[in-house]
């Protein structure tokens, strides 16, 4: 009886989560997959026709937005690393007893709704807003200079919105680095640079790895930032999917694009994990 219990208990533990995923992810995904191969319109209804041409058509029409999404996501991710690493490093090694205060300060803006925050950014970046107006009146920027409705505005918005997802895993990895290991490095003739590149950086890479995945995936599929900050010239694939689904009611095309984005992200992450798997990267750094 006990043995049966021991064998079954892991399955019982996974049951709630498993059911959740099955009902709210697997079933919709299968439904969407079938939808992506149907033809028709919202008035006369869609019929399953196994039309794989949906894929070639949609990708042909929207490949610019697909690639743009990946590029923006990548740019935002890199920018987030650049901003988050020093921040996490400082909190972990110089935060002293106030580490949690600093983390809370960083997270505080994120208690406000995502859409509201992005809208606030459009205020900040607007052509005659509080940021640009003074710079223009002082003659530091030309009068026709603008940030809003450009690619950098979208990337900045994406970076800002996913920064905590980069800071937190990096912070956790850095905070776990044992100070005695750092001391051992100093004892073995490692100066500041070598301590960082040979010990601290390699030991924090698992955190960077997690941060990249947690930032890149949602940033690439976002549509709010490009809608609020990007204007019409910088639409991302999320905007296309949204308008195809809710405006044009072209469900097959929306499904096709969703699946294509998912496939691209999965391929990207697997390639990333393969090429820069944390184990290999640490071995390389150790040399």
């Amino acid at each position: 009886m006990n043995r049966l219990r021991a064998t079954l208990s892991p399955y019982f533990l996974v049951l709630p989560g498993g059911l959740w995923l099955a009902i709210f992810f697997v079933i919709p995904a299968v439904f969407m997959l079938s939808l992506s191969l149907q033809t028709g319109d919202v008035v006369s209804g869609f019929s399953p026709t196994w039309s794989f041409s949906n894929y070639t058509n949609a990708i042909g029409l929207y490949h610019t937005q697909l690639l743009r999404s990946l590029a923006y996501g990548l740019a935002a991710t890199i920018l987030a690393i650049v901003l988050a690493y020093p921040m996490a490093y400082w909190i972990a090694f110089h935060g002293g007893t106030r580490k949690s205060t600093y983390l809370l300060l960083m997270l505080l803006p994120f208690f406000v709704s995502f859409v509201l925050r992005t809208t606030a950014w459009s205020f900040l970046l607007s052509d005659n807003g509080i940021l640009l107006a003074p710079l223009k009146s002082w003659g530091l920027l030309p009068a026709d200079f603008h940030v809003l409705a450009t690619a950098p505005a979208v990337v900045l918005g994406l970076t800002y919105n996913w920064l905590p997802f980069m800071v937190l895993p990096i912070y956790l990895a850095l905070d776990r680095v044992d100070h005695r290991i750092v001391e051992a490095g100093r004892d073995l003739y490692a100066g500041r640079t070598a301590i960082f590149t040979k010990i601290i950086l390699p030991l924090s890479l698992p955190g960077v790895f997690a941060g990249v995945i947690m930032t890149f995936v949602p940033a690439s599929s976002d549509f709010v930032n490009s809608q609020v900050l990007g204007g019409t010239a910088n639409t991302m694939i999320g905007n296309v999917i949204q308008s195809q689904y809710f405006v044009a009611s072209n469900y097959p095309i929306a499904s096709v694009l969703s699946f294509t984005l998912m496939a691209l992200l999965l391929i990207g992450i697997f390639a990333y994990a393969r090429a820069l798997g944390t184990k290999d990267i640490m071995e390389a750094a150790a040399r």
């Binding site: 290991i181 001391e183 051992a184 490095g185 100093r186 073995l188 003739y189 010990i199 150790a286």
Partner: protein, 390 residues
């Protein structure tokens, strides 16, 4: 081993050879930590020399300043006053990563993301040693600590004892001017610890590098060291060979910290050819060789439990002898331990070997004479140097 390092009188042979600078020289070294309660001295005006190739131990209870002293030698702590010298060169202002000493950490502090080979090679790579030399020196060192073939493993895949050896190899491979060991065996179980003690001694003899060993374990220090500095409250209470430290403790603290010891005290009745004599009455007397005794003054002395013998009748001769009642008898296998309450009120412990003829010498409640040779009583300095300095 300990015997060759000491002369018959228990005095330590000077390990520092004439004309050769000591491996480590500490001059007036002190460290004070600031805290909310004011300044807390951790180490007070320490003067110490460790000879080249010596196995030197800093022994003391936790908080005695031994670890702080070692960290100042390594360069992790900046001394408040005084200086640190390595082979005669003042290195006080040289940062840890440029000091030619290496350390074995209590927790080993191996680099978890590197293989055993890379762990050991770390110091050599920082010093830009050629690739082929790194390979050969790391290989040799891993052979020395009996870890050949483990190069590709990671620290997490090794046992505690093996990790300990990696930590040792990682430090020794750099051929430092001195190796500092911070309670390196503390995390190991007793059996492994004992075999590692012998192992450490063998490795030290083979490489000939100066070892400074920090420990709170007196048996560890006595087993391995050429010389021991017993520290308490930031000062060295006694400096000497294991035999000297054990048999001639200089202070009450050293006597109490190292092994079991019996403390006796009494007023000096007379001084006869260099010996102070305490006479508690009934023909009892205690002799102590001392030059500082003054008749009528209180004198404190110590005698080790294995030097004392028991007798039912009053022993003859000019030995020390006092009367007492046996309060406890504990059979320990190879020996028997007797607790005796003397007429003067002191509690004495006596260890007797269980030889073939030594059948039950005394029973609980027996009235016995305790006697020992006068040369086994040692006077204790009345005031500890730490208190005098403060």
């Amino acid at each position: 081993m300990g015997d060759t390092a000491t002369k018959s009188g228990g005095h330590v042979k000077t390990v520092v050879a004439a004309g050769e600078p000591p491996a480590i020289g500490l001059v007036g070294l002190s460290k004070t930590y600031g805290s909310v309660h004011g300044e807390v001295p951790a180490v007070r005006r320490l003067d110490l020399e460790v000879g080249q190739g010596e196995f030197f131990s800093l022994l003391g209870p936790s908080g005695c300043g031994k670890t702080t002293t070692m960290r100042m030698v390594a360069g992790f702590e900046v001394p408040t006053t005084g200086s640190v010298h390595l082979l005669g060169e003042d290195v006080t202002s040289i940062p840890a990563h440029r000091r030619d000493v290496n350390m074995v950490f209590q927790s080993y502090a191996l680099f978890p993301h590197m293989t055993i080979f890379e762990n050991v090679a770390f110091g050599l790579r920082r010093k830009a040693v050629s690739r082929s030399e790194v390979t050969s020196r790391v290989g040799q060192m891993l052979e020395l600590v009996e870890l050949g073939g483990m190069e590709k493993r990671r620290p997490g895949q090794l046992s505690g004892g093996q990790q300990q050896r990696v930590a040792l190899a990682r430090a020794l491979v750099n051929k430092p001017r001195a190796l500092l060991l911070d309670e390196p065996l503390g995390a190991l179980d007793l059996k492994l610890r004992q075999s590692m003690q012998i192992e450490l001694k063998r490795i030290q003899r083979e490489v000939g590098i100066t070892f400074v060993y920090v420990t709170h374990d007196q048996s560890e220090a006595l087993t391995m060291s050429d010389r021991i500095a017993v520290m308490n409250a930031g000062v060295v209470e006694q400096l000497g060979g294991p035999r000297e430290i054990y048999e001639r403790p200089a202070s009450r603290f050293v006597a109490g910290f190292i092994g079991t010891s019996n403390l006796l005290s009494g007023a000096v009745a007379k001084v006869v050819d260099g010996h102070a004599v305490i006479e508690p009455g009934d023909g009892q007397r205690v002799l102590v060789e001392t030059t500082a005794a003054v008749v009528g003054e209180e004198l404190e002395l110590t005698v080790r439990p294995e030097k004392v013998r028991l007798s039912a009748t009053k022993p003859d001769g000019d030995c020390c002898r006092i009367l007492g009642d046996v309060t406890e008898v504990v059979y320990l296998g190879t020996s028997t331990s007797y607790a005796v309450r003397t007429d003067t009120g002191a509690d004495m412990t006596v260890f007797l070997q269980n030889g073939s003829d030594a059948s039950d010498v005394a029973e609980r409640g027996d009235r016995v004479w305790l006697y020992w040779q006068a040369r086994h009583s040692y006077p204790l300095t009345p005031v500890r140097p730490a208190e005098a300095a403060a």
